[in-house]
């Protein structure tokens, strides 16, 4: 982790050209250095944060008064840091009856902030409460509802429930961070007493990092894939030398337990929707043998989306994995016990995350926990199926090689698509895809569940979602269109994104045919599309011209126009389901 001094130094570098967003910090203790740390960590993640720090100890006024400076600033993200210490002060001034409702009182306040219509569309990042055990009751506090310990724990639980209820509320898990780092590291009593600063200098970079983890996840920057080395990473020993019986796994042999628990963690990531891949220097058969035959392997071949075991370099194998998955290197994590391999991957593949695993495999997990690599801003049950979809994609790739003619191949897939507006069933997936799609995304507007719900309710908006199914399986919801009227005759394509899993299937043609149909039916004459470049969406630079739009030379941005009445439906081999 960077030090506060390093983060501060970041702010002296040239920040022009970095993308920017607005973040406000509201706290009930001194937050100046926290703000510095967040801005410095922003630079680490490639952002120049426009930061507003509310005057100290005005949490209620700033958040509830619509004329406050906070509202004037109009932040994209609002970080709220109400400390356990101030909560404890408040607790000490209450009667026993009131103490028993302290958590409810605070929960109601946060709910009222989340419901404040003036804050609609803003993301609220709320710090939960690291415990301070005051030992007034000792362990008996667990039995006493009015005790501080009881109320703090209840409050943290209620915060989780609130965040499920309000899509715009994200909990920054300071309590979890304190569990990892320890209270004595997080808090310096001498500094607090003389300055009102609640977080120690050492803790600030970690806290800033956790804030930026959430911000980046909301902005679509998060890890999607974990690539594993095998020997001494997934099991102890070298399968090629030690053989199936000789590798260390499970509770029997050597330090096998460490690897088993590591695999359990990987399995949970897979179940959460992280794509697990293997890159190993081994013969393929040898490398697969433990997955097929070892009784203590938690990971099975089914869990692995792409399995690369051969004698090519790790760099080449990771590039192959990337070409099959079609996701950015910056969304990949590579774990390998060998420092040489790690350095080689780090040096040759820009953007990939390569944690510096400890020498002792027993330490792997605790170290990996400390990095919080897999922050996310959404989760849906469909995430679980992702591995299957990539395995199917690998099958499709091998089928396509047997056709010389692309059209014949596409016809052979028997593709069908369900077209639908946004409904309560698909809203979570639409929002999630809007956060995840980077490459095939024309304007890269990120939407939360609440935003998508509002669009669905707006009668002027034409919202379309598309699924794609073929003979190998169902890809689920893979493309989204949001069109808004500019005037009576003109529709503007606010959003067009598509999952890269379904590239080169004619889905763009099918989508446009549907868009034109809907536009015509609603009496529109023109569709305007726009391309807003990002570092990742060069793939769709010529998207609109390729589909027969004409470039609008006059516009300040890349805009393209299509005459609805002259449009000839484009060829595609997808049927409406």
């Amino acid at each position: 982790m960077q030090t506060l001094t390093q983060l501060k130094r970041n702010l002296k570098s040239d920040l022009t050209g970095l993308p920017s967003f607005k973040l406000a910090v509201v706290g009930d203790t001194a937050t100046q250095l926290l703000c510095t740390a967040i801005r410095g960590m922003g630079v680490e993640r490639g952002y120049n944060i426009g930061l507003f720090e509310a005057e100290y100890n005005q949490v209620e006024r700033q958040l509830l008064d619509p004329t406050s400076d906070l509202y004037q600033f109009n932040a994209d993200f609002i970080v709220i840091f109400q400390s356990t210490h101030k909560l404890g002060e408040h607790h000490s001034l209450l009667s026993t009856e009131q103490q028993a409702t302290l958590a409810d009182e605070r929960t109601n306040f946060i709910a009222s902030v989340c419901e404040n219509s003036a804050l609609a569309g803003k993301k609220i990042i709320y710090f939960n409460y690291p415990e301070v055990e005051d030992t007034v009751f000792g362990s008996y506090a667990n039995k006493v509802e009015s005790s501080f310990t009881y109320q703090v724990r209840k409050l943290n639980y209620e915060l989780m429930r609130l965040s499920q209820q309000y899509q715009n509320l994200f909990i920054c898990d300071l309590a979890g961070l304190q569990n990892k780092l320890g209270r004595d590291m997080m808090f310096a009593a001498n500094v607090y007493t003389s300055t009102e600063m609640i977080l120690s200098m050492d803790a600030l970079p970690y806290v800033a990092s956790r804030v930026m983890d959430i911000v980046c996840a909301v902005k679509g920057q998060f890890k999607k894939c974990l690539i594993l080395d095998l020997d001494n990473t997934v099991w102890g020993g070298v399968i090629g030398d030690d053989g199936l019986e000789g590798i260390q796994l499970g509770h029997g042999l050597g330090i096998g337990k460490a690897f088993t628990e590591f695999q359990m963690w990987v399995k949970k990531l897979k179940q959460r929707g992280i794509i697990i891949c293997v890159a190993s220097k081994n013969n393929e058969d040898t490398a697969k043998e433990p997955f097929e035959k070892h009784p203590d392997m938690v990971l099975k071949l089914d869990d692995i989306a792409v399995f690369q075991a051969n004698w090519e370099t790790k760099v080449d194998n990771i590039r192959t994995i990337q070409s099959i998955l079609n996701i950015g290197f910056d969304s990949m994590v590579f774990l390998d016990d060998n420092p040489f391999e790690r350095n080689m991957v780090r040096e040759n593949i820009k953007g990939i995350t390569v944690p510096e695993l400890p020498d002792d495999p027993a330490e792997y997990l605790e170290y990996l926990y400390s990095l919080n690599l897999f922050e996310t801003a959404s989760y849906s049950n469909l995430d679980k199926d992702r591995t299957k979809q990539y395995q199917v994609e690998a099958q499709r790739v091998s089928l396509s090689k047997t056709f010389t003619n692309e059209a014949d191949f596409l016809k052979s897939l028997n593709m069908v698509s369900t077209v639908s507006g946004f409904t309560k069933f698909n809203i979570p997936r639409v929002a999630q895809l809007s956060q995840r799609s980077n490459q095939f995304n024309l304007r890269t507007v990120r939407y939360t569940d609440a935003d998508i719900e509002a669009l669905a309710d707006d009668p002027n908006v034409i919202d379309l979602s598309f699924t794609l199914e073929d003979k190998f399986g169902d890809n689920g919801l893979i493309a989204v269109i949001i069109m808004k009227p500019l005037d009576k005759e003109t529709l503007f394509v606010d959003t067009w994104f598509m999952s890269c899993r379904v590239l080169k299937r004619g889905m763009e043609n099918f989508t446009l045919n549907t868009m034109v149909e809907k536009a015509k039916a609603a009496g529109y004459k023109k569709i305007i599309g726009e391309y807003l470049p990002t570092p990742k969406n060069k793939m769709v630079e010529d998207h609109y011209t390729g589909l027969g739009f004409t470039k609008n030379e006059g516009a300040a941005t890349s805009q393209f126009e299509l005459n609805v009445n002259e449009y000839q439906p484009r060829e595609c081999y997808i049927e409406i389901k």
Partner: protein, 78 residues
């Protein structure tokens, strides 16, 4: 520990934390003499000194210092 040696070490810490290699301090230096030395960077200096000398200041000491000399006396007495 020799106070001049402490002064030299503390000067290094000032340069590192305040990110300015030209900072020169002596026993009479006060916060007003150094542009980057404000109440916020003061806390960073304190914590950096605590780490370097493996000592802990109490909160009363933190509030009482007026000059670098006060700071160094305090370190020397630990």
């Amino acid at each position: 520990m020799d106070k001049n040696q402490i002064l030299a070490d503390v000067q290094e810490i000032f340069r590192e934390v305040l990110d300015n290699d030209e900072i020169e301090i002596n026993f009479e230096t006060v916060a007003d003499d150094i542009e980057e030395w404000d109440s916020l960077s003061h806390i960073q200096l304190i914590v950096a000194i605590e780490k370097q000398f493996k000592i802990k200041f109490n909160s009363k000491e933190l509030m009482e210092w007026k000059t670098v000399g006060d700071m160094i006396d305090c370190i020397a007495n630990k």
